[in-house]
Protein backbone atom coordinates (compact mmCIF):
# COMPACT_ATOMS: atom_id res chain seq x y z
CA UNK A 1 0.00 0.00 0.00
CA UNK A 2 2.88 2.32 0.91
CA UNK A 3 4.61 1.60 -2.41
CA UNK A 4 1.41 2.47 -4.25
CA UNK A 5 1.03 5.80 -2.45
CA UNK A 6 4.68 6.68 -3.02
CA UNK A 7 4.18 5.81 -6.70
CA UNK A 8 1.22 8.16 -6.95
CA UNK A 9 3.09 10.97 -5.17
CA UNK A 10 6.00 10.40 -7.57
CA UNK A 11 3.65 10.87 -10.53
CA UNK A 12 2.66 14.31 -9.19
CA UNK A 13 6.28 15.26 -8.48
CA UNK A 14 7.47 14.15 -11.93
CA UNK A 15 4.59 15.98 -13.65
CA UNK A 16 5.28 19.28 -11.88
CA UNK A 17 9.01 18.83 -12.42
CA UNK A 18 8.53 18.11 -16.12
CA UNK A 19 6.36 21.19 -16.56
CA UNK A 20 8.92 23.37 -14.78
CA UNK A 21 11.89 21.90 -16.65
CA UNK A 22 10.31 22.22 -20.10
CA UNK A 23 9.42 25.83 -19.43
CA UNK A 24 12.97 26.51 -18.23
CA UNK A 25 14.29 25.00 -21.45
CA UNK A 26 11.99 27.19 -23.51
CA UNK A 27 9.94 24.31 -24.78
CA UNK A 28 6.49 25.86 -24.45
CA UNK A 29 4.44 25.86 -27.65
CA UNK A 30 4.24 29.66 -27.53
CA UNK A 31 8.00 30.06 -27.37
CA UNK A 32 8.58 27.53 -30.13
CA UNK A 33 6.32 29.45 -32.52
CA UNK A 34 7.56 32.91 -31.54
CA UNK A 35 9.94 35.04 -33.54
CA UNK A 36 13.03 36.24 -31.68
CA UNK A 37 12.77 39.69 -33.27
CA UNK A 38 9.83 41.84 -34.23
CA UNK A 39 10.51 42.25 -37.92
CA UNK A 40 12.27 39.81 -40.19
CA UNK A 41 12.97 40.67 -43.77
CA UNK A 42 13.38 37.87 -46.25
CA UNK A 43 13.83 34.20 -45.36
Amino acid sequence: MKAMLIGFVAIAVIAVGADYTLHQMGWSAAEQGASPSNVRLGD
Binding site: F8, I14, V16, G17, G33
Partner: protein, 416 residues
Protein backbone atom coordinates in the same frame (compact mmCIF):
# COMPACT_ATOMS: atom_id res chain seq x y z
CA UNK B 1 -45.93 68.53 -62.33
CA UNK B 2 -42.36 68.20 -61.17
CA UNK B 3 -43.40 65.18 -59.03
CA UNK B 4 -44.91 63.44 -62.05
CA UNK B 5 -41.72 64.01 -64.04
CA UNK B 6 -39.67 62.55 -61.17
CA UNK B 7 -42.03 59.59 -61.02
CA UNK B 8 -41.72 58.91 -64.80
CA UNK B 9 -37.91 59.27 -64.64
CA UNK B 10 -37.82 56.83 -61.74
CA UNK B 11 -39.91 54.30 -63.67
CA UNK B 12 -37.65 54.55 -66.71
CA UNK B 13 -34.53 54.01 -64.59
CA UNK B 14 -36.09 51.03 -62.82
CA UNK B 15 -37.05 49.50 -66.18
CA UNK B 16 -33.51 50.05 -67.44
CA UNK B 17 -32.10 48.42 -64.31
CA UNK B 18 -34.35 45.37 -64.83
CA UNK B 19 -33.23 45.14 -68.47
CA UNK B 20 -29.55 45.34 -67.56
CA UNK B 21 -29.99 42.72 -64.83
CA UNK B 22 -31.90 40.43 -67.19
CA UNK B 23 -29.22 40.76 -69.87
CA UNK B 24 -26.60 39.79 -67.25
CA UNK B 25 -28.53 36.89 -65.84
CA UNK B 26 -29.56 35.24 -69.10
CA UNK B 27 -26.05 34.27 -70.29
CA UNK B 28 -25.24 33.22 -66.71
CA UNK B 29 -28.20 30.86 -66.65
CA UNK B 30 -27.27 29.55 -70.05
CA UNK B 31 -23.76 28.85 -68.73
CA UNK B 32 -25.16 27.04 -65.73
CA UNK B 33 -27.27 24.87 -68.00
CA UNK B 34 -24.24 24.16 -70.14
CA UNK B 35 -22.25 23.20 -67.06
CA UNK B 36 -25.06 20.90 -66.01
CA UNK B 37 -25.11 19.18 -69.36
CA UNK B 38 -21.34 18.64 -69.51
CA UNK B 39 -21.42 17.12 -66.07
CA UNK B 40 -22.60 13.89 -67.58
CA UNK B 41 -19.57 13.59 -69.82
CA UNK B 42 -16.50 11.77 -68.59
CA UNK B 43 -14.03 14.40 -69.76
CA UNK B 44 -14.99 17.69 -68.14
CA UNK B 45 -15.17 20.67 -70.48
CA UNK B 46 -13.71 23.65 -68.65
CA UNK B 47 -14.00 26.16 -71.48
CA UNK B 48 -16.92 27.88 -69.74
CA UNK B 49 -14.69 28.76 -66.79
CA UNK B 50 -11.56 29.42 -68.80
CA UNK B 51 -9.99 26.18 -67.55
CA UNK B 52 -10.81 26.84 -63.91
CA UNK B 53 -12.99 24.84 -61.50
CA UNK B 54 -16.42 24.04 -62.91
CA UNK B 55 -19.79 23.63 -61.25
CA UNK B 56 -19.42 19.88 -61.69
CA UNK B 57 -16.13 19.90 -59.78
CA UNK B 58 -17.83 21.78 -56.95
CA UNK B 59 -20.82 19.44 -56.95
CA UNK B 60 -18.58 16.36 -56.87
CA UNK B 61 -16.64 17.81 -53.94
CA UNK B 62 -19.85 18.57 -52.07
CA UNK B 63 -21.09 15.03 -52.67
CA UNK B 64 -17.81 13.65 -51.30
CA UNK B 65 -16.90 12.09 -54.67
CA UNK B 66 -13.24 11.98 -55.74
CA UNK B 67 -12.16 15.15 -57.57
CA UNK B 68 -9.28 15.12 -60.03
CA UNK B 69 -7.33 18.23 -59.07
CA UNK B 70 -4.49 17.60 -61.51
CA UNK B 71 -5.78 20.27 -63.94
CA UNK B 72 -5.04 22.82 -61.22
CA UNK B 73 -2.14 21.11 -59.44
CA UNK B 74 -0.16 20.85 -62.68
CA UNK B 75 -1.15 24.29 -63.93
CA UNK B 76 1.53 26.16 -62.00
CA UNK B 77 4.41 28.30 -63.16
CA UNK B 78 3.79 27.98 -66.89
CA UNK B 79 3.26 31.44 -68.45
CA UNK B 80 1.96 29.94 -71.70
CA UNK B 81 -0.87 28.27 -69.80
CA UNK B 82 -2.10 31.60 -68.47
CA UNK B 83 -4.99 33.41 -70.11
CA UNK B 84 -4.19 36.38 -72.39
CA UNK B 85 -3.82 39.85 -70.91
CA UNK B 86 -7.09 41.00 -72.47
CA UNK B 87 -9.03 37.94 -71.21
CA UNK B 88 -11.21 38.06 -68.15
CA UNK B 89 -8.77 35.87 -66.20
CA UNK B 90 -5.74 37.37 -67.92
CA UNK B 91 -2.37 37.75 -66.26
CA UNK B 92 -1.43 40.79 -64.26
CA UNK B 93 2.13 40.88 -65.49
CA UNK B 94 4.65 38.06 -65.12
CA UNK B 95 2.53 35.87 -62.86
CA UNK B 96 -1.21 35.95 -62.55
CA UNK B 97 -3.23 36.00 -59.36
CA UNK B 98 -4.83 32.63 -60.10
CA UNK B 99 -1.33 31.23 -60.61
CA UNK B 100 -0.35 32.48 -57.17
CA UNK B 101 -3.47 31.10 -55.50
CA UNK B 102 -3.06 27.74 -57.22
CA UNK B 103 0.51 27.69 -55.94
CA UNK B 104 -0.78 28.31 -52.42
CA UNK B 105 -3.52 25.73 -52.79
CA UNK B 106 -1.05 23.03 -53.80
CA UNK B 107 1.79 24.09 -51.54
CA UNK B 108 4.02 25.18 -54.44
CA UNK B 109 4.09 28.95 -53.78
CA UNK B 110 7.26 30.56 -52.50
CA UNK B 111 5.90 31.64 -49.11
CA UNK B 112 7.99 33.65 -46.67
CA UNK B 113 6.82 34.43 -43.18
CA UNK B 114 7.95 36.11 -39.99
CA UNK B 115 6.49 33.28 -37.92
CA UNK B 116 9.20 30.80 -36.97
CA UNK B 117 8.64 27.09 -36.81
CA UNK B 118 8.89 24.24 -39.28
CA UNK B 119 5.26 24.38 -40.41
CA UNK B 120 4.75 28.15 -40.58
CA UNK B 121 5.01 28.37 -44.39
CA UNK B 122 2.42 25.70 -45.16
CA UNK B 123 -0.81 27.56 -45.77
CA UNK B 124 -3.09 24.79 -47.01
CA UNK B 125 -2.66 21.05 -46.56
CA UNK B 126 -5.08 18.61 -48.11
CA UNK B 127 -5.16 15.82 -45.56
CA UNK B 128 -6.35 17.91 -42.63
CA UNK B 129 -10.05 17.29 -43.24
CA UNK B 130 -9.52 13.56 -43.73
CA UNK B 131 -7.72 13.42 -40.40
CA UNK B 132 -10.37 15.46 -38.60
CA UNK B 133 -13.23 13.35 -39.98
CA UNK B 134 -11.42 10.11 -39.14
CA UNK B 135 -10.63 11.36 -35.63
CA UNK B 136 -14.20 12.44 -34.92
CA UNK B 137 -15.71 9.47 -36.73
CA UNK B 138 -14.30 5.92 -36.86
CA UNK B 139 -11.51 6.50 -34.32
CA UNK B 140 -13.83 7.84 -31.65
CA UNK B 141 -16.67 5.42 -32.43
CA UNK B 142 -14.77 2.14 -32.75
CA UNK B 143 -12.33 3.09 -29.98
CA UNK B 144 -15.27 3.73 -27.67
CA UNK B 145 -16.95 0.48 -28.67
CA UNK B 146 -13.73 -1.43 -28.05
CA UNK B 147 -13.54 -0.17 -24.45
CA UNK B 148 -17.26 -0.63 -23.76
CA UNK B 149 -17.15 -4.06 -25.40
CA UNK B 150 -14.19 -5.09 -23.24
CA UNK B 151 -15.94 -3.93 -20.06
CA UNK B 152 -19.11 -5.76 -21.17
CA UNK B 153 -17.16 -8.94 -21.90
CA UNK B 154 -15.48 -8.79 -18.48
CA UNK B 155 -18.83 -8.30 -16.72
CA UNK B 156 -20.24 -11.24 -18.67
CA UNK B 157 -17.19 -13.35 -17.83
CA UNK B 158 -17.58 -12.49 -14.14
CA UNK B 159 -21.27 -13.45 -14.22
CA UNK B 160 -20.57 -16.76 -15.97
CA UNK B 161 -17.29 -17.82 -14.40
CA UNK B 162 -17.37 -15.91 -11.12
CA UNK B 163 -14.31 -15.11 -9.04
CA UNK B 164 -11.34 -17.44 -9.39
CA UNK B 165 -11.04 -18.69 -5.83
CA UNK B 166 -8.14 -20.31 -4.00
CA UNK B 167 -9.05 -24.00 -4.38
CA UNK B 168 -7.01 -25.54 -1.57
CA UNK B 169 -6.84 -24.91 2.16
CA UNK B 170 -5.19 -21.58 2.98
CA UNK B 171 -1.92 -22.05 4.87
CA UNK B 172 -1.79 -18.66 6.58
CA UNK B 173 1.86 -18.42 5.46
CA UNK B 174 2.82 -15.66 3.09
CA UNK B 175 5.70 -15.43 0.68
CA UNK B 176 7.14 -12.30 -0.85
CA UNK B 177 6.21 -11.91 -4.49
CA UNK B 178 7.19 -8.33 -5.25
CA UNK B 179 9.64 -6.07 -3.42
CA UNK B 180 8.79 -2.46 -2.52
CA UNK B 181 10.78 -1.15 -5.45
CA UNK B 182 8.97 -3.40 -7.91
CA UNK B 183 5.56 -2.40 -6.57
CA UNK B 184 6.57 1.27 -6.72
CA UNK B 185 7.44 0.83 -10.42
CA UNK B 186 4.17 -0.98 -11.07
CA UNK B 187 2.03 1.72 -9.44
CA UNK B 188 4.01 4.51 -11.08
CA UNK B 189 3.14 2.89 -14.39
CA UNK B 190 -0.45 2.03 -13.43
CA UNK B 191 -1.31 5.41 -11.90
CA UNK B 192 0.17 7.36 -14.79
CA UNK B 193 -1.50 5.09 -17.35
CA UNK B 194 -4.94 5.57 -15.80
CA UNK B 195 -4.44 9.34 -15.68
CA UNK B 196 -3.20 9.37 -19.28
CA UNK B 197 -6.08 7.13 -20.38
CA UNK B 198 -8.76 9.31 -18.80
CA UNK B 199 -7.26 12.62 -19.97
CA UNK B 200 -6.64 11.16 -23.42
CA UNK B 201 -10.28 10.12 -23.69
CA UNK B 202 -11.34 13.59 -22.51
CA UNK B 203 -9.21 15.15 -25.27
CA UNK B 204 -10.65 12.85 -27.93
CA UNK B 205 -14.27 12.56 -26.83
CA UNK B 206 -14.84 15.70 -24.74
CA UNK B 207 -16.25 17.78 -27.59
CA UNK B 208 -18.83 15.15 -28.35
CA UNK B 209 -19.85 14.11 -24.85
CA UNK B 210 -18.80 16.79 -22.33
CA UNK B 211 -19.68 20.02 -24.16
CA UNK B 212 -23.36 19.00 -24.61
CA UNK B 213 -23.67 18.12 -20.90
CA UNK B 214 -21.29 20.58 -19.19
CA UNK B 215 -21.17 23.51 -21.60
CA UNK B 216 -18.23 25.19 -23.30
CA UNK B 217 -16.95 27.14 -20.29
CA UNK B 218 -16.71 24.09 -18.09
CA UNK B 219 -15.19 21.96 -20.86
CA UNK B 220 -12.53 24.60 -21.55
CA UNK B 221 -11.35 24.17 -17.96
CA UNK B 222 -11.51 20.36 -18.10
CA UNK B 223 -9.73 20.26 -21.46
CA UNK B 224 -7.00 22.62 -20.27
CA UNK B 225 -6.39 20.57 -17.12
CA UNK B 226 -6.49 17.34 -19.13
CA UNK B 227 -3.87 18.64 -21.52
CA UNK B 228 -1.57 19.68 -18.68
CA UNK B 229 -1.93 16.31 -16.95
CA UNK B 230 -1.54 14.34 -20.20
CA UNK B 231 1.59 16.21 -21.30
CA UNK B 232 3.39 16.15 -17.97
CA UNK B 233 2.33 12.80 -16.48
CA UNK B 234 3.61 11.18 -19.68
CA UNK B 235 7.17 11.41 -18.29
CA UNK B 236 6.19 9.33 -15.25
CA UNK B 237 4.73 6.72 -17.61
CA UNK B 238 7.86 6.57 -19.75
CA UNK B 239 10.13 6.34 -16.70
CA UNK B 240 8.00 3.57 -15.19
CA UNK B 241 7.95 1.72 -18.51
CA UNK B 242 11.75 1.59 -18.49
CA UNK B 243 11.75 0.52 -14.82
CA UNK B 244 9.25 -2.28 -15.38
CA UNK B 245 11.14 -3.51 -18.43
CA UNK B 246 14.47 -3.64 -16.59
CA UNK B 247 12.96 -5.27 -13.48
CA UNK B 248 10.90 -8.00 -15.12
CA UNK B 249 12.23 -8.74 -18.59
CA UNK B 250 14.28 -11.68 -17.24
CA UNK B 251 11.11 -13.38 -16.04
CA UNK B 252 9.17 -12.76 -19.23
CA UNK B 253 11.05 -14.64 -21.92
CA UNK B 254 8.74 -17.28 -23.38
CA UNK B 255 9.47 -20.94 -22.63
CA UNK B 256 7.91 -24.40 -22.83
CA UNK B 257 5.76 -23.94 -19.74
CA UNK B 258 3.92 -21.15 -21.52
CA UNK B 259 2.71 -23.50 -24.25
CA UNK B 260 1.30 -25.89 -21.65
CA UNK B 261 -0.27 -23.01 -19.79
CA UNK B 262 -1.89 -21.64 -22.94
CA UNK B 263 -3.05 -25.11 -24.03
CA UNK B 264 -4.96 -25.40 -20.76
CA UNK B 265 -6.34 -21.86 -21.12
CA UNK B 266 -4.54 -20.96 -17.91
CA UNK B 267 -6.91 -23.25 -16.03
CA UNK B 268 -9.45 -20.46 -16.22
CA UNK B 269 -12.20 -22.82 -17.35
CA UNK B 270 -11.34 -25.75 -15.08
CA UNK B 271 -8.98 -28.66 -15.67
CA UNK B 272 -6.64 -27.80 -12.81
CA UNK B 273 -3.91 -25.23 -12.51
CA UNK B 274 -1.19 -25.49 -15.15
CA UNK B 275 2.32 -25.00 -13.73
CA UNK B 276 3.90 -21.56 -14.14
CA UNK B 277 7.06 -19.76 -13.13
CA UNK B 278 7.11 -16.23 -11.65
CA UNK B 279 4.94 -15.04 -14.55
CA UNK B 280 2.51 -17.28 -16.42
CA UNK B 281 1.92 -16.99 -20.19
CA UNK B 282 -1.03 -14.63 -19.68
CA UNK B 283 1.09 -12.29 -17.60
CA UNK B 284 3.89 -12.48 -20.15
CA UNK B 285 1.44 -11.44 -22.84
CA UNK B 286 0.40 -8.49 -20.69
CA UNK B 287 4.06 -7.61 -20.05
CA UNK B 288 5.04 -7.61 -23.72
CA UNK B 289 1.85 -5.76 -24.70
CA UNK B 290 2.68 -3.06 -22.18
CA UNK B 291 6.31 -2.83 -23.30
CA UNK B 292 5.68 -2.88 -27.07
CA UNK B 293 2.42 -0.94 -27.23
CA UNK B 294 3.44 1.37 -24.36
CA UNK B 295 6.77 1.96 -26.09
CA UNK B 296 5.03 2.79 -29.36
CA UNK B 297 2.62 5.12 -27.56
CA UNK B 298 5.60 6.81 -25.91
CA UNK B 299 7.39 7.36 -29.22
CA UNK B 300 4.33 8.80 -30.98
CA UNK B 301 3.61 10.76 -27.79
CA UNK B 302 7.08 12.34 -27.85
CA UNK B 303 6.46 13.30 -31.47
CA UNK B 304 3.26 15.02 -30.32
CA UNK B 305 4.94 16.61 -27.28
CA UNK B 306 7.55 18.29 -29.46
CA UNK B 307 5.52 19.28 -32.53
CA UNK B 308 7.30 18.95 -35.90
CA UNK B 309 10.61 18.02 -34.22
CA UNK B 310 10.33 14.24 -34.45
CA UNK B 311 8.64 13.34 -37.73
CA UNK B 312 8.68 9.59 -38.26
CA UNK B 313 5.78 8.52 -40.42
CA UNK B 314 7.09 9.48 -43.89
CA UNK B 315 10.21 7.38 -43.26
CA UNK B 316 8.22 4.52 -41.72
CA UNK B 317 5.81 4.52 -44.65
CA UNK B 318 8.73 4.51 -47.11
CA UNK B 319 10.16 1.42 -45.38
CA UNK B 320 6.74 -0.24 -45.31
CA UNK B 321 6.24 0.51 -49.01
CA UNK B 322 9.47 -1.29 -49.88
CA UNK B 323 8.11 -4.41 -48.19
CA UNK B 324 5.00 -4.27 -50.37
CA UNK B 325 2.83 -5.04 -47.36
CA UNK B 326 0.57 -1.95 -47.56
CA UNK B 327 -0.35 -2.74 -51.16
CA UNK B 328 -0.93 -6.39 -50.33
CA UNK B 329 -3.30 -5.39 -47.54
CA UNK B 330 -5.20 -3.01 -49.81
CA UNK B 331 -3.88 0.28 -48.43
CA UNK B 332 -2.15 1.16 -51.72
CA UNK B 333 1.17 2.97 -51.65
CA UNK B 334 1.44 4.95 -48.43
CA UNK B 335 2.42 8.64 -48.68
CA UNK B 336 6.17 9.18 -48.39
CA UNK B 337 6.22 12.97 -48.70
CA UNK B 338 4.23 14.80 -46.06
CA UNK B 339 3.70 18.28 -44.73
CA UNK B 340 4.77 18.74 -41.10
CA UNK B 341 1.09 18.84 -40.11
CA UNK B 342 0.41 15.54 -41.79
CA UNK B 343 3.19 13.93 -39.76
CA UNK B 344 1.51 15.18 -36.60
CA UNK B 345 -1.88 13.92 -37.75
CA UNK B 346 -0.54 10.41 -38.31
CA UNK B 347 1.24 10.55 -34.94
CA UNK B 348 -2.03 11.49 -33.25
CA UNK B 349 -4.00 8.71 -34.95
CA UNK B 350 -1.36 6.08 -34.21
CA UNK B 351 -1.06 7.31 -30.61
CA UNK B 352 -4.83 6.98 -30.12
CA UNK B 353 -5.30 3.64 -31.92
CA UNK B 354 -2.49 1.89 -30.03
CA UNK B 355 -3.69 3.46 -26.78
CA UNK B 356 -7.20 2.07 -27.29
CA UNK B 357 -5.77 -1.43 -27.79
CA UNK B 358 -3.58 -1.14 -24.69
CA UNK B 359 -6.45 0.26 -22.61
CA UNK B 360 -8.59 -2.74 -23.55
CA UNK B 361 -5.78 -5.12 -22.54
CA UNK B 362 -5.19 -3.26 -19.27
CA UNK B 363 -8.91 -3.38 -18.41
CA UNK B 364 -8.63 -7.18 -18.51
CA UNK B 365 -5.43 -6.99 -16.42
CA UNK B 366 -7.12 -4.78 -13.81
CA UNK B 367 -10.07 -7.19 -13.67
CA UNK B 368 -8.02 -10.34 -13.09
CA UNK B 369 -5.75 -8.55 -10.63
CA UNK B 370 -8.62 -7.33 -8.46
CA UNK B 371 -12.20 -8.68 -8.43
CA UNK B 372 -11.47 -11.48 -10.89
CA UNK B 373 -9.14 -13.57 -8.70
CA UNK B 374 -8.94 -14.16 -4.97
CA UNK B 375 -5.51 -13.38 -3.56
CA UNK B 376 -4.15 -11.75 -6.73
CA UNK B 377 -4.27 -8.17 -5.49
CA UNK B 378 -1.98 -8.93 -2.52
CA UNK B 379 0.92 -9.39 -4.93
CA UNK B 380 0.86 -5.67 -5.74
CA UNK B 381 -0.88 -4.53 -2.53
CA UNK B 382 1.42 -5.74 0.23
CA UNK B 383 3.76 -7.73 -1.95
CA UNK B 384 3.11 -10.84 0.20
CA UNK B 385 0.90 -13.58 -1.25
CA UNK B 386 -0.83 -16.57 0.38
CA UNK B 387 1.37 -19.64 -0.12
CA UNK B 388 -1.55 -21.74 -1.33
CA UNK B 389 -2.42 -19.11 -3.97
CA UNK B 390 1.20 -19.10 -5.11
CA UNK B 391 1.28 -22.91 -5.31
CA UNK B 392 -1.86 -22.96 -7.43
CA UNK B 393 -0.97 -20.18 -9.85
CA UNK B 394 2.85 -20.15 -9.86
CA UNK B 395 3.88 -23.63 -8.71
CA UNK B 396 7.31 -23.62 -10.38
CA UNK B 397 8.09 -20.20 -8.89
CA UNK B 398 7.19 -21.43 -5.39
CA UNK B 399 9.55 -24.38 -5.85
CA UNK B 400 12.34 -22.00 -6.83
CA UNK B 401 11.67 -19.78 -3.81
CA UNK B 402 11.67 -22.80 -1.47
CA UNK B 403 14.93 -24.08 -2.96
CA UNK B 404 16.60 -20.73 -2.41
CA UNK B 405 15.30 -20.59 1.15
CA UNK B 406 16.79 -24.03 1.82
CA UNK B 407 20.09 -23.00 0.25
CA UNK B 408 20.44 -19.96 2.53
CA UNK B 409 22.84 -20.56 5.46
CA UNK B 410 21.11 -21.18 8.77
CA UNK B 411 22.49 -18.05 10.38
CA UNK B 412 21.49 -15.72 7.54
CA UNK B 413 18.70 -13.21 8.00
CA UNK B 414 16.02 -13.36 5.30
CA UNK B 415 16.05 -10.67 2.68
CA UNK B 416 13.52 -7.93 3.13
Amino acid sequence: MRDIRHYILGCIMAALAVLVLASWLTPGMANAQEAGSVATETEIDRSATGGATTLEDIMRRQQGLPVDNSFRAENIGDPSAAAGITDQLGTLGGASDPDLWRGMRFNAADVTTQARGPAADVLIQDRGMWWLLFREGPLLTYGGYLLLGTIGALVLFFLLRGRVKIDGEKTGRRIERFKNFERFGHWLLAGSFILLGITGLVSLMGRKFLIPTNGHESYALIAGASKWIHNNVSWAFMLALVMVFVMWVVHNFPDKTDLKWLAKGGGLFGGGHPPAKKFNAGQKLIFWSVIILGGSISVSGLSLLFPFELPMFAKTFAILNTTGLPEMLGFGILPEAMTPHEEMQYAQLWHAIVSFVLMAIILAHIYIGSVGMEGAYDAMGTGMVEEQWAKEHHSLWVEEVKKQENKAPSGATPAE
